[in-house]
């Protein structure tokens, strides 16, 4: 480096010293990520260390006291309404404040189940607030099983293994293997995902991971064709950024380029 021209070294120094003119961009990035900017670092450490209690405390500290009052009034009204009309679906859904003992839980109709959460699996039949029986649970699991998909063991259906969470975990395994540059392993995890969730809700993510596996394992033409087809099908997809290496005109050279991380088992 010392042999470099002094002017060039000065330019390097200038580049190292360059900063955004304001902190606005960083603040906007934090906001776009859903993170408040006021006490960024303090919250990060306190939140990570404190767990849900810290999170709850933070939430409380952000709420104005009048807000809590309003919430209490609304909740009271909802409870009174629910008492008057016991057959109606609950107007306010909330998780129990403390974990319930299993025997107690079994006697109380659930106010919110994992399956009823947004983007979760197709909801089981709990119309009119009636308690779902084992039969209805089994029926719901069966109805959610993809046509032609592998039959699931009774134990696993009882645990609703085809929930969104399971689907995420299944695809995460493939993504994680890919991030470790192990394409063969990623491919096998993706095959397991495909077999288990043939009509999965993360199908697009799975397709993109498949293209990435192909591209990173040296199957450039295949990745390129699939990437273009994908973007043609979903023109506004944010996945286009991930597929960018295989959407370029010079994509055939990407495997040897620095902009694509190739797999260490690419030959597999």
């Amino acid at each position: 480096m010392s042999e470099l021209d002094p002017l060039l070294l000065r330019a390097f120094s200038a580049a190292r010293a360059e900063r955004p003119r304001s902190g606005k961009g960083k603040a906007q990035t934090l906001a776009a990520l859903g993170l408040s900017t006021a006490t960024a670092t303090a919250h990060a450490s306190a939140g990570a260390a404190g767990g849900p209690l810290a999170a709850g405390g933070r939430l409380l500290s952000r709420w104005p006291w009048w807000g809590i009052g309003v919430a209490l009034v609304v909740t009271s009204g909802a409870v009174l309404w629910a008492v008057d009309e016991p057959s109606a679906a609950p107007a306010v859904v909330s998780a129990p404040a403390t974990p319930l003992a299993s025997s107690e839980a079994d006697t109380i109709a659930p106010v919110l189940t994992v399956d009823q959460l947004p983007n979760a699996a197709e909801p089981p039949n709990v119309a009119n607030g009636t308690k779902p029986t084992e039969a209805t649970k089994a029926a719901a699991s069966t109805s959610r099983r993809p046509a032609g998909g592998p039959a699931l063991a009774p134990e696993s259906t009882a645990l609703a293994t085809d929930s969104l969470r399971d689907e995420i975990e299944a695809i995460e395994r493939a993504s994680h293997a890919l991030s470790q540059r192990r394409c063969a392993l990623a491919r096998s995890h993706l095959a397991a995902y495909d077999a288990r969730f043939p009509n999965g809700r993360l199908r697009r993510e799975a397709d993109v991971v498949a293209i990435e596996i192909a591209g990173r394992s040296g199957q450039i033409d295949r990745a390129r064709t699939a990437a273009r087809s994908f973007v043609a099908q979903f023109p506004d997809t944010p996945y286009a950024l991930r597929l960018a290496p295989w959407l370029r005109d010079d994509a055939t050279e990407e495997a040897g380029s620095t902009s694509v991380v190739t797999c260490i088992d690419a030959a597999d």
Partner: protein, 187 residues
Amino acid sequence: MSANVSNVLPLVGVVDVAREGRLRRSVDEHYLFVWRSLRRLGVPESEADDVAQETFLVFSRKLHTIDASAERGFLFRTATYAAMHAQRKYRRQRTLEESAALLEGDGEHPSVEEDAEREESLVLLDSLLAKLSDDLRVVVILCDLEEMTMTEAAEILSVPAGTVASRLRRARAELSAGMTRIKRSMR
């Protein structure tokens, strides 16, 4: 099912808080690195914050797949993709307006002359970097500008350290040759 819910919801909270903390720390630690890398990859200053934001949004979506030790590398690779896209919309060179605005100064800086000199250096460097191939440019950015070791750069670029060393040699030679040409043309 209620028991399951009571077990799952606190876990969801823990996961969310941990994720939030990690995201926040990553932005705190790496924002400047991403921003500077984007600038040297040819993103105009007026767009660098926006492209940095895009980079972190991609990072956020993939957070669960990224090892904590590989965050910087992931961000750099994402930034290179994002810069490539940004270049389709914006010219590589700094705009005249940008340079003029910087030279005019806003009164916050101690020396307008120093700023102008720094700005000249940056324009010079960017023009030289623009002439390098992508492979060589990223090595200069990581090793000479971000002062990473060749091993660190090799890890980020997924190439052997020897490849980084040879690319760095070539890059420096090309930069020096470019500088010589500029000096000759100025005489």
